[in-house]
Subunit: 210 residues, 4 copies
Amino acid sequence: METHAGTEAKQRRGRRPAAEVRAEVLAAAAALMYADGLPAVTFERVAVRSGASKTTIYKWWPSPGALAAEAYFVTNKTELQFPDTGDLANDVRAQLRAFVQLLTQSGSGRIIAELIGTAQTDQDLSAAVSKHYTMPRRILAIRYFQQAVKRGQLRDDADLGLLVDQLWGACYNRLLIPDAPLDQKFADALVKNTLVGAASSTYRSLLLGT
Amino acid sequence: METHAGTEAKQRRGRRPAAEVRAEVLAAAAALMYADGLPAVTFERVAVRSGASKTTIYKWWPSPGALAAEAYFVTNKTELQFPDTGDLANDVRAQLRAFVQLLTQSGSGRIIAELIGTAQTDQDLSAAVSKHYTMPRRILAIRYFQQAVKRGQLRDDADLGLLVDQLWGACYNRLLIPDAPLDQKFADALVKNTLVGAASSTYRSLLLGT
Amino acid sequence: METHAGTEAKQRRGRRPAAEVRAEVLAAAAALMYADGLPAVTFERVAVRSGASKTTIYKWWPSPGALAAEAYFVTNKTELQFPDTGDLANDVRAQLRAFVQLLTQSGSGRIIAELIGTAQTDQDLSAAVSKHYTMPRRILAIRYFQQAVKRGQLRDDADLGLLVDQLWGACYNRLLIPDAPLDQKFADALVKNTLVGAASSTYRSLLLGT
Amino acid sequence: METHAGTEAKQRRGRRPAAEVRAEVLAAAAALMYADGLPAVTFERVAVRSGASKTTIYKWWPSPGALAAEAYFVTNKTELQFPDTGDLANDVRAQLRAFVQLLTQSGSGRIIAELIGTAQTDQDLSAAVSKHYTMPRRILAIRYFQQAVKRGQLRDDADLGLLVDQLWGACYNRLLIPDAPLDQKFADALVKNTLVGAASSTYRSLLLGT
DNA sequence: TACTAACCGAGACGGTACGTCCCGTCTTGAG
DNA sequence: CTCAAGACGGGACGTACCGTCTCGGTTAGTA
């Protein structure tokens, strides 16, 4: 309690409030991540930068990737919402445009790519990304699509989960395997094709006619 | 021991043919990769296992990832082909089924995922994957789609590159972000929806009618 | 398990008698020491093994070494005695043989060596060893020697403290710096030489004659 | 690259001559040891102070203690010699006085004590101390005693190794277990008693008479 | 054919991160 | 309100890897 204040060199031994430490660790991880990318988020550097000890960090996060993931999610607590105006194409287009915007304009694109990339060899990170990021968004989209089915905008037999992979998955694909550009035009075309299909009318009839 | 000095310990003196060394390095990298995954492919271990020196390996590959990529491509020289029977849906479905098969049944799935994952933080690997793997396959698919346009099976204004992302990209998405299963059923539904669209007939007319 | 919550997990709440806790701590320390040597006696492990908290242990012992020392002394409460039959050589020989026996046959040898060793860099342990172990034995020996002087078996001007170092100290030397064997033969020779000296009779006369 | 010299920040990567590195490591270890005692000699600190990497240090020394030992021996390359003037008592007294001097006056006493102490729980250090320090000195003393036997100054049946333990061992005992002072008076008394024995003349006759 | 010069692979080096263990201090929550 | 349970900062351990650089043996070029 420092009755006689003034000690300050010897400070910082012993226990500090957990919440305080956690916040500092996450802040340090976020700073490193935004500055130098995911590989810069090591337990070692985070410990030094945050003033926390490695022991403490190991107690709370299973891997540097998982720590980075939480740091990202905490600093990017975007409202999870999928506005429903009743106009399927418009709503989805708006969502996808925003998503492409996020991946390309802000610094988030690289970080998300690195998170997903690292998750391929880090089970804990993979679980964290799925639980706190991709899965909630998938569920939200599917709920919206269920409404669209009720409104008669989507076929009754449409595979709603598949739509997510065709729309957002295609964007992730262009993010992670950049053989083709990821932009608004792509988003718009994606929405259209997913809804109306790429087949010519004659071939379409053939496919459905059977 | 070593009564006749140099019988086999000294074997490795003098310079060996570059091609021979390269082959051994790639073989060692492949063995490590299949046994313990991509993180096991380090210059250090490959050097020990292959008998080559680190210096040599550094001369030829810019990063462990790039070495692993080449090791994978060399040991998986699948024929690049896209059989064209004239039946668009069937041809694409066959391709996608084979692709899903590759990603799920063989050990390739994990390795491809790890390669793409690591490529997010390894420019050299990213370039190698694109140049030797994804890009050639994208071009092949687009060429096929161009034939399908000529045959009147795809709309004239269809974005052919986008189709690749919707079909293969969706598969990669389920591989890299495993929130939903990647199987034959998914492949089939993917083909159908990409060609005919998910919109109900009424909403489809609305979208196209305008 | 735990149908009625807290049946035995919560057992350790409320304060337990200090004596009981002390005993458990010492028992845990002794167990660790005999099993894995002195370095295994850490506050951390003793706390876990004994169920006591580190705070408690810190309150009673200044260092792991001091704790280990007490654990050893408590479990080895050998009667402090120096039987006096009146026969100096026999009495001392018996004592020394028993001492060598202790150091070599039982597991005590290693532990005593480690205690003295660690005491070189642990003031508290050094003090504990001296106070509870070496010093009492030194005093006992000196008292016996004083009797021997009175009986006319030792020279009046003999340095009695020095005799302790020559007898027991030599044994400690062979324990701590094992360049030569520590056995009964050594003990016997030690006693003889300490009493009669190593000089030849002529050289002895020369030395004393002056 | 770096055709134009002058870079100096990037220096110190890659390999440096082994001898140079070894010397710097030993110097750093010695400095730490003399300044703060043996516990200050950790691989970590030595690495930082010497500029060498931990990997390198681990390659050459099995434990911090062994490193410290070598650092001590290197900086204290005292001539190994045992001057033989033909006067046994004088020669031994001179040696012992010098030894006591070393242990008490210079800073060596504490270091030797800590080395021997740590050796109790460090096999590698124990071996190093024996091989490079105690054993050579023991042999030297025994050689001298053999000459004294030839000269008729020591009894023919004297156990020469035992004399070492009685003389130097007793000193080590007072160093390591400081229950009694270690000084010149002690050294002198030690020499005398070891040669002529502590028994009174009557008791001595009794002992020998048998 | 001997003899030297250039080259190149084997592997030692500095740097950095990993994950673990321990010490000594301090917050916190159970009694 | 007290005190032990145990979380915290600090720091060392021993290992693995990266990327750089020295060293010494081989080969090729000279006498």
